[in-house]
Symmetry: none
Subunit: 214 residues, 4 copies
């Protein structure tokens, strides 16, 4: 006996529609991917947010992107302490087993996680400081980013922190020895993106550490 | 200065194409979602695998699904120990802040993470036992599932373990007090799915704890 | 000593620009593709015409499409006679060695080869009938298509013949045993497209044998 | 009724994106090209390989290159025997009808066709010797090239044969009377290139019959 419930009917209907159309159109390729294994060219780390689907933005086919999604697209620093690190496991699998060529971190505007982090760090959300707050502890990863935006006017800080989340994740990625060595060997490229969900704009982290429109 | 590199041009072109078409056609809805905030009806926990995109299968519109993707669609047991738990943070945010009505865990066939877990538990992948293996430690979550498939013929175990990953995650979800109370209050439904990536079939975990075709 | 000449300087300059930008951005992926081999999902058969580049239309990345281009995107019937059949060799390699999932034949408007075929078949281009005319003999492949458009008003025949070239090629593809068996086994999908180079429209051959706008 | 299938949706989406951006931006030029006909300055003969797109390397605009792609970028010797010669037809059309100024043959590294030819000629691929092997019979064109590399150390032969494929094709091109006369009249230049797909290098066949970096 389980606690699960039947899937809502509208989802079942959509699934049947998908299988009769999109799956049908692609079935030879799906079969090939199933038999021979995936070989994605890129890993994408983006937010769980329901308004940001990277497969749409890049017209990605099945098999192209290995996608990890968590709150605020964060990567923690390298910590081989024997504990469970889901994000680090995803990065390890993508870089070492799948040997992806690109690793893209994509942040976005109006991110609830980033807003929560800013509220927490600026003393406006004490409940997030609690040891039992999973969101709070997860957003601790972004605390170093908060330090780097405190000099800005108050009304610009949250926005800046969204972009800082991308930089912090990229910095943390480079603390993983297998990421750093793959980057140095020219086998892996890192990319930082930030997406404005309201006007659709996509910005790229450039070599001078600024985000520029694509 | 950063280590990031420019985005490959074909992705930039596809983005511009997306913005001129899909985004343009939906911009009033995107704007509304940006201004009013997301209000997804469901959270989906699925695998990072590049062959499994739940947005396609369910024809999900922007704003519908809050999606967490990790290796092998696992949820660890409730552990409010002050450490960083990315998956638990995503669940907490979805259930407590967004108050989603559905929480769907979706497994799939030919999952590299599950295969690795089976190899590790059956003594064929000692490197995954190492404390520094992020994938190995992450797959520890599924060890209780392995115990439940050892009675099966050897060639059925991996396949059974893929489905067990869904059951283990659902069981673990119920150890989160806020999940259990929302389920009991009738405010949250849990759902278990398993997807065959080769033939496109979707199976649902039924009340008798078996997976049945939709 | 050879008869070759140095490459024009503007092409050398463009190559250097490409290598410093596009190649540089994609080099990790190019390296991976070089080391592990190509695994294209589709073969495309299109015309040599300088106005039809399928990689642009589909924003194709390196490694996605295996492309054969010949005059008028024609495929001859299966003829295992020990002679040199370049198109048949390309199809054989794509289907049997690379095991592509999709085989796309794309025709286009204002095709010089098709116009020549129409002129030849309607008696207006006797020089193409000559045994030494490579273009004429190549366009013989499309003669069965000409028979199927002669009932149309004169000013619609060339246009109809462009689309017939796609149908004839698809019919001929099915005479290759390894194509037919892969299609029947669900391992290969055939697709017919026709592109209007003037207004950019792309049409698809539908199940009722008519071309419909995408 | 046809055997064709609907085009996968991600390709349809990308096409719509292309039409709304690249096509839209260039439509006056596309219209001009459609109305006045193509007038490419060069014909390029390159391989079907999905990793070699000459339009990218040379940033080619629509209308610039008339492109023939076959297995291993081969040109057979002149043989006006009334049979179907697709490559010869493409050359004839480019030189006699379009009167291109340049004819470029571009080989590349890790060519599957060349590797197959080497295996066949060295007795390691008897299946390619079969009269019904289209790839084998097509690669017969390169047999004279194999004879010229047998004196090299075994591990250098395949690589040398890739470059020999360019030389053989250029030699064969000069057996076409209309090519030879256009070259002699100064109306057509032949060029030989070889591209390393792993490191992006492009080499040019120089007057002393050696390939030199550009």
């Amino acid at each position: 006996m389980t606690v699960t419930r039947p899937l809502p009917n509208y989802l079942i209907q959509r699934y049947h529609g998908w299988r009769a159309t999109s799956f049908e159109e692609n079935q030879t390729w799906y079969r090939r991917l199933a038999d021979d294994g995936q070989r994605p060219r890129a890993m994408v780390i983006s937010c769980c947010d329901s308004r940001v689907h990277v497969t749409s933005i890049f017209g990605a086919d099945s098999g192209e992107f290995f996608i990890h999604r968590n709150i605020a697209n964060l990567v923690p620093p390298y910590a081989p302490d024997g504990e469970q690190h889901g994000t680090s496991a995803a990065v390890e699998y993508a870089v070492r087993s799948l040997r992806v060529a690109h690793l893209i971190v994509m942040g976005h505007s109006r991110c609830g996680g980033v807003a929560g982090c800013h509220a927490m760090c600026s003393g406006q959300a004490p409940e997030l400081e609690d040891a039992t707050s999973f969101v709070g502890r997860w957003m601790d990863i972004l605390r170093p980013g908060y330090e780097r935006v405190t000099g800005l006017p108050a009304d610009e800080q949250v926005h800046a922190l969204e972009k800082m989340a991308v930089r912090v994740s990229l910095d943390n990625l480079m603390t993983f020895p297998f990421v750093a060595s793959a980057v140095e060997a020219g086998e892996l490229s890192l990319h930082g993106l930030w997406h404005d969900i309201r006007d659709g704009e996509l910005m790229m982290l450039a070599e001078d550490d600024r985000f520029v429109p694509l």
